[in-house]
Symmetry: C2
Subunit: 167 residues, 2 copies
């Protein structure tokens, strides 16, 4: 017995997006309870040359939908990066989850050897599906989920490891 590429990817994408939504909901509730303008959180960064929270969430969404689509061999859906509120970020996450839920396990058959080419800022990189999943899609997703968590924690939102790990 062994794992399918579907089993190795989709539950992780689903769980991380669900945690991301729960973490943002706590951030929004904290802002409301403390009467802090939500934009303070949405624009918060851990360093001047790191992305703010809104962008962290958009990239997490991109990592999940890009990862799932490329492994399934379908076009990556394009979402404009226009969110300016917690509610709009929640909509984006829900849309990303709905896209992922629409993919079928059969589409991932053979995905471990499927060729995936990405245009990065300054270069083009080609992976096989397995290296793309474990060396690019999953690390990026966790990076942006954790950084979203860290931005909110740094700004006083009460979150714990259970919010990060999910159910």
């Amino acid at each position: 017995m062994s794992l399918s590429m579907y089993q190795a990817s989709i539950p992780t994408f689903r769980r991380t997006l669900t945690s991301l939504a729960a973490i943002l909901a706590k951030g929004a509730a904290h802002a409301e309870a403390k009467q802090i303008d939500p934009s303070v959180f949405l624009n918060a960064r851990l360093a001047p040359d790191m992305f703010p929270l809104v962008r962290q969430v958009q990239i997490a969404s991109d990592a999940a939908k890009g990862g799932a689509a490329r492994l399934a061999g379908v076009d990556v859906p394009s979402y404009p990066d226009v969110e300016t509120s917690f509610a709009e970020l929640q909509e984006r996450i829900a849309k990303t989850l709905a896209f992922i839920d629409g993919l079928d396990a059969a589409q991932f058959e053979g995905a471990e050897t499927r060729s995936v080419t990405l245009k990065l800022r300054d270069r083009e990189v080609t992976f096989n599906g397995q290296d793309f999943l474990f060396g690019f899609a999953v690390p990026n997703l966790y990076f942006h989920l954790t950084t979203t968590y860290n931005i909110l924690r740094h700004n006083g939102v009460e979150l714990g490891k259970r919010d990060f790990l999910g159910a």
Copy 2:
């Protein structure tokens, strides 16, 4: 064709530990170049009730060795949490990598259904190997790698996504 549990775990553990070592090396070099006491970085936190950098690295090591050992069905090696310098953290990461490199792919056969029970702070949790890997070991490893990165970035160390993703 599909993935083995070895393929789904060990390359990730190895890559994240290697990135962690590289990120810490840049932190140590920055401290030296700017004549900042390394303990400022080693004790830095993103929030008063989050762990400092040293502890983030220790837990990342624990997630990797604990994950690998439990999936391979061998005892988890116990490392005392005594590091107080960048050099000692590097030794711990090297020791963790050496432990992981000593495990054989054959030990991971059937690991997806192996029962794994963890004693957490306030409860005991039992997973099958697959859920343990994707729902606990990997997320914890990425959480503590990313938080180490974020602590250093927040304190002015020049790091980029490539340092995080590795080669």
